[in-house]
Symmetry: C2
Subunit: 329 residues, 2 copies
């Protein structure tokens, strides 16, 4: 008997193996203060391409990816371990660059690299980050707490990291056979930064805490808004309506999307890697949340489970939101 993993999808697979999909980080303990533990694996050729991903940025991004999971529980990240699978093509200097980037992100986020493991890799560079954090029981935010009429909020703009990836891939193809290649990124620096150097939104979590706002549910947008919103709907037993004209999409994202004949809304919904936070707050918090000054946008609201999740276009039409499959490339 052989069941292909593609038939289950990533979440189906996790559910089958683990019993449930869970939150962005595992919750440990039962007292007033809970521990949070998250882990992420990034593999060369799947999650990053070293032909255009500078090692220093990769180190920075890995920490962003790991710490974002703790932030998405409304928690504080404390310690990080990094396990590396090292291929022979990498030099000591490459790895020092990687650590320089990782340390920079750790400094900015107030976390410490406490340990790790190295192993040889016969294939590509492999990185696994685990992050230990903590959160007061009264503040913990899971995917399952969204309630009808809650406002759906996201931080900053969507789709830029995805377009940044397309830009890098295009330049890689264009320059594959050119000597001394000079990539043309002018005007799109923002998209590159969003792909190569995404920032974990500790500023948002700090701002919420300063105003004593505890979201009812939260998730790190790593797989794309559509997929991650469905995670909240599924875990919370609810539906959702998000409004197309409310989706924050940067000017540069629109511009490159047009140039590459990509629908910017599709990029915003399904392009992953944004590492922004998607969360819900009670309806009465509207003003309080938008006044925080950390770029929070309200894009819709939570509805009854029976209504499903849909994107509402400016003319009032509803387009059902569907998850994308798990792509075993």
């Amino acid at each position: 008997m052989r069941t292909e993993i593609a038939t289950l999808g990533e979440f189906g697979l996790i559910k089958r193996l683990m019993g449930s999909v869970g939150d962005d980080a595992a919750v440990i303990g039962t007292g007033k203060n809970l521990l949070l533990l998250s882990t992420d694996m990034l593999l060369e050729g799947v999650n990053f391409d070293l032909t255009y991903f500078p090692m220093q940025h990769l180190g920075y991004k890995v920490v962003t990816v790991g710490v974002s999971d703790i932030l998405a529980m409304n928690g504080t990240a404390g310690q990080v371990t990094l396990s590396l699978g090292i291929s022979a093509k990498l030099s000591v200097e490459d790895l020092e660059e990687f650590y320089t980037g990782a340390r920079k992100a750790c400094e900015e986020l107030g976390v410490e690299i406490v340990g790790g493991d190295t192993t040889a890799s016969v294939t590509g560079f492999a990185v696994c980050i685990s992050v230990l954090g903590s959160v007061a029981k009264s503040k913990i935010t899971r995917r399952s707490g969204a309630r009808q009429n809650d406002l759906i909020c996201i931080t900053r703009d969507l789709g830029a990291a995805y377009l940044g990836l397309h830009l890098l891939e295009r330049e890689k193809r264009a320059l594959a056979e050119v000597e001394n290649p000079q990539p043309r990124f002018s005007g799109y620096e923002y998209l590159l930064e969003r792909q190569l150097r995404p920032r974990a939104r500790k500023d948002v979590i700090d701002a919420l805490a300063a105003e004593n706002i505890v979201p009812t549910s939260m998730i790190d947008i790593s797989d794309g808004l559509a997929s991650d919103l469905l995670q909240i709907c599924h875990a919370s037993g609810c539906g959702a309506r998000i409004y197309l004209d409310r989706l924050p999409i940067a000017r540069e994202t629109y511009a490159l999307a047009e140039e590459l004949h990509i629908d910017p809304v599709v990029a915003a919904l399904n392009g992953g890697d944004d590492h922004e936070l998607l969360f819900t707050v009670p309806l009465g918090m509207q003003e309080k949340v938008t006044r925080l000054g950390v770029g929070i946008e309200i894009i819709g609201h939570i509805t009854a489970e029976s209504t499903g999740a849909a994107l509402v276009t400016p003319d009032g039409a509803e387009v059902a939101i569907k998850a994308q499959g798990f792509n075993l490339e």
Copy 2:
């Protein structure tokens, strides 16, 4: 500037990147109760070969490898996360087998799988395990606590896992072009078990605790006795003498070593993967330790740093113990 990683070795590399090599697990906190966090990465083609490593055993072994690091700090393992890089050749059933083995080890060791991550892999199967544990500050055992005249103890026998690997490799070569292969493992089941299903020595840690014995230093033997003893010497600023005729080597290990023309002492010193514990206790503990009934052998004693680390042969000759390099295959 390009420095090859091989010129530094694994420990040199870690020292350069991290500032120091550290213990088997990172220690977090400063109170009476400390948290322990360890991480290990295992990659197909380097750490295991799926042509002969059953998925269920691999799941079991990964948990052994991870939990051993916590035990080596004299700690109690509590929670585990598993990150998997999944290649398209694996089926859902393969991964279920892997989890069945991992859960079995977790049950035996009293730990819980709390989370994880899955990503596609274009190369081979990649596994990263992180383990969270705890230990009382008064009981924590590091690599750095060995003192002159301490006894050097190890649990169970050495070199068997390494010979088990050789046996599997031999059968793989022998059967590569045979239809319906029937591997000949008769008489060597013990070696296979040591390679395919090593057990984390929670029984030893429990037995030490029951008698209120706190080792002065400890390490998990994963890289081989020689390399791991040197880690203790280096961290503790001491030398060591271990006695060749005290090294516990199983009958099956001797038998296969002879058949394969491998020196069984070299296998015991440098063959890794044993996942037994190497620790030191004060001289006065000799009787107490050997009476515990968990297979602890005293193989030597700690000496002054200036004397270095050496293996003493039955005729009294001393052979300096040297570390093996980091092999980027």
